[in-house]
């Protein structure tokens, strides 16, 4: 039988707030255990949560980026369960009035067509501590307890492992773009619970789903999905009934295994968190936050292609990073030639960042200076080699290209009389090369151009030199 795969993802994205969700403790990764803790995130008697407004703002920004409706009424709830990684033995989360509803992520589907993966909602909740087990004892590190997490819940719109990864890749790009999360996978900034089921193609009812918990690498999710889809397919084809269960991916074994299933269904006894007031965001507040929202990466790619006349490939490279795209756009506007700016940013500027290991933000080169440099090149005030030679200096020390060119006399020599003298001298000094050229050796012309350039100290316009040489040689 032909089966259709149905996948939905619940993705936890750690917000990059400086402090935790309900207290002033820091959120930096890798600190020594229990060094970012206080009575609030340790659940001490009498401690109360106080809301970090930045966490609300970031969640709303994420929602706006995904085209969600921002709730005009949201509230927090307590999810009750006993576990040592929970400092209060309940988690503050949002059960039925999340901050963001609806929305979607556009991906290229399996069939190559664009499709929208619908978002069900985004809610905000606190992270828990981290358990470490050693022989004979266990430890808890509460540094992570109370760190704000968004849970982005997709609709079951994904149809293959590749689509799941395309969705996560796009989602990650959008969250980084919105500036709400680092989405650092190694640090566990983005973890997904994966729900997958199979159904006979054409059937509308969903099949029995399996949840694979807490996956933090894309390759792991891909591999786990491929395995799980095949496992379910084989079971269904063998006429077996699947169990609705939670499974764990073992990357070493390359298999999923059922997690210990509880005999009774969990009852988290949710109820409204009495220590926090409900959130009523005004449309004015949301509009104010929306002003700081950058264009979504996909939309930006389209617009950059139209505005600057650059190919899709260039737009893709440049828009992958918000800071790079901003830099490119500013430089392109300054010099007035989008493709020239694109070539220079992608080839020369990125080469410099790679070579120096210095991020664009830390370099002295401003997009305006690059634009000015390219304008000088366009106007043939300087030639290409001069421009290339100047760039590393601008990158390291900054400066005004026009002033530098003027002060150092780097402008191209386009005075025909002066150039003719250099050309004549070169022809005279190299009779053998001239003879070779006349005998049909085209490369000889390049040598002669080089000689003229050398005499002009690099300032001659190579095109003009070539033209003069050809005239003199009568070709």
């Amino acid at each position: 039988m032909d089966y259709e795969v149905v996948i939905g993802l619940e993705t936890h994205v750690q917000l990059k707030t400086r402090t935790k969700m309900f207290c002033g403790c820091g959120t930096s990764f890798g600190a020594s255990p229990n060094s970012h803790v206080c009575p609030v995130c340790l659940g001490y008697p009498g401690a109360l949560p106080s809301m970090n407004r930045e966490a609300i703002r970031y969640t709303v920004m994420a929602g706006l980026m995904l085209g969600c409706k921002i709730a005009d009424y949201a509230k927090f709830d307590r999810k009750n369960y006993f576990y040592p990684d929970s400092s209060k033995d309940y988690q503050i989360t949002q059960l039925d009035h999340p901050l963001c509803l609806g929305g979607g992520v556009d991906i290229t589907g399996e069939d190559g067509a664009r499709k929208t993966v619908r978002i069900h909602h985004i809610h905000l909740e606190e992270d828990v501590g981290k358990l470490t087990h050693r022989a004979g004892c266990s430890g808890v590190d509460f540094n992570r307890a109370g760190v704000p997490l968004m849970e982005i819940v997709s609709q079951p719109d994904l149809r293959s492992a590749d689509e799941a990864i395309a969705y996560l890749t796009a989602l990650r790009e959008m969250m980084i773009y919105a500036g709400v999360s680092e989405c650092n996978l190694e640090e566990g900034n983005m973890r997904s619970d994966v729900n997958v089921s199979l159904r006979p193609r054409g059937q509308t009812a969903y099949g029995t789903k399996v949840e694979i918990k807490n996956m933090n690498t894309f390759s792991g999710i891909h591999a786990a999905l491929l395995f799980e889809i095949e496992r379910q397919r084989a079971a269904l084809e063998a006429g077996q009934t699947l169990r609705q269960e939670t499974r764990r991916w073992d990357p070493d074994a390359g298999e999923t295994f059922p997690m210990r299933s509880k005999e009774n269904a969990d009852d988290y006894r949710y109820f409204p968190e009495p220590d926090l007031m409900p959130i009523a965001l005004s449309p004015e507040q949301v509009a104010e936050w929306a002003k700081a929202l950058p264009e979504a990466p996909a939309a930006r790619r389209e617009r950059m292609m139209a505005d600057y006349g650059i190919p899709e490939y260039d737009a893709g490279v440049l828009s992958a990073d918000r800071a790079l795209a901003d830099f490119f756009e500013a430089a392109a506007k300054r010099c007035g030639n989008g493709k020239l700016a694109s070539n220079w940013v992608m080839a020369e500027v990125l080469a410099l960042t790679a070579k120096t290991g210095k991020a664009l933000a830390d370099a002295a080169l401003t997009p305006e200076a690059l634009g000015d440099l390219l304008r000088l090149l366009e106007a043939k005030t300087i030639n290409g080699p001069t421009a290339k030679a100047l760039l590393p200096e601008l990158f390291e020390k900054g400066g005004d290209p026009e002033a530098i060119v003027r002060e150092r006399g780097l402008g191209q020599v386009s005075d025909t009389a002066a150039l003719e003298a250099f050309v004549d001298a070169a022809l005279e000094a190299n009779p053998k090369v001239v003879a070779d050229f006349r005998a049909g050796k085209q490369a000889a012309l390049g040598f002669l151009v080089g000689q003229v350039m050398k005499q002009s100290k690099g300032k001659a316009s190579p095109q003009m030199v070539q033209r003069l040489l050809r005239t003199k040689l009568g070709v």
Binding site: P45, F82, D89, V140, R269
Partner: protein, 481 residues
Amino acid sequence: MMELNKLTIAEALAGLRSGAFTSVELTQALLKTMEASQKDIHAYVTIDAEGALAQAAEADRRRAAGEDAPLLGVPIAVKDNMNVKGQPCTASSRILEGYVAPYDATVIAKLRAAGAVFLGRTNMDEFALGSTTQTSGFGPTENPVARGCVPGGSSGGSAAAVGGDLAIAALGTDTGGSIRQPASHCGIVGVKPTYGRVSRYGVVACASSLDQVGPMTKTVEDAALLMNVLAGPDPMDATSLDEPVPDYTQAWAGADPERPLAGMTLGIPKEYYGEGLDPEVRALAEDAKARAIALGATLKEVSLPHASYGIPTYYICMTAEISANLARFDGVRYGLRVPCDDVVEQYRRTRAEGFGAEVKRRVLLGTFVLSSGYYDAYYGRAQKVRTLIRRDFEAAFAECDALLAPVTPEPAWPLGAYQDDPIRNYLSDVLTVGVNLAGCCALALPAGQTKAGKPVGVQLIGPNFGEMALFRVAKALELKK
């Protein structure tokens, strides 16, 4: 020789400011009485003699240097559910034995900044769950006025400390009457401020949506002096409200001494004068009504039609929140731990050993009312009734400035009575829980004594942030010593 322990805050401040005595002398006088009273009254679970004397000496140094502060050198008792940095804080529960508070509750920080001296920690019903102080994990407290009787609860230790002159004043908490009822039983003044008026940060949570900290004092003026320090918004408590704080001692300023309540209308909620009210309690409430009229007030009968749903609604809301708030006492991070190889077994044994019977009963009730399949019938329904109860009060306040009613249906009962009858205990909260469910403010003050010499109070109930009206009426109704 003046008995320093019997002073009010106002008298103590006057003496300290005039140099009649020092804070160290005042504190020593109290410590001596406190220690002597421990074996019978047992108002305190912890007495911090050393710390109190050091704070008193510091207050004296500051005063000698020309400084002053609203409570500089005034010794105060604190209910055992508020964190005072460096002191134990057990909420009278065995499960918190060994826990030392690493921080100050906001109310403590405010009192500290105002120069108060902390005498020690008063006994209470375990986690404030009770109305007799007999559920304390450290033994009961005896009523210092009606000897042989309970002091009320849950702030029974604070009420006994103030009523028995074992503190100049005290802090209590009121979740369903826990300040007003013991104040009434011990013959003192107690204020349940409007929800959100005083910070809850650092107060061991009983029921978060109902709890408020308030003063327990010998006089109305003292309660106003303490409220001036306690009230105000706190960024650490998201449910505290940013309302301006008036000078509560100005509540009665400019009143006509003959008719200080002229122009005021007091509502008489008929449901609070129904069947089951002890005749002597009723008579003293009627006496308060007559005095109010003589002082110029207009009385008007009003109705709180959903009053009879107060007890079931309260015991559902409160136990639900208790079940979550008390989950953190699991033996993992602080307090009692009964070590086991299996973590679930460790939870079970720690909580079985650490919690008393009443705590367990309420955690079980709260867990039940939130459980899947029962939520709508209990917790969900109770929330709706709570809204109706709040609207009852709002409607009543459209007709009057404050309500006047008894605090409890009967005076303090003998120690040990009804201990096997939780329902009887719960029903005694019938006149106090409505205020907490509605979130409004109330003040209990002495109304007299029964023939047997048991103190009986009346309560004034005001709208949200209506404390000024309560203080004005209370000051006028206050019985002369």
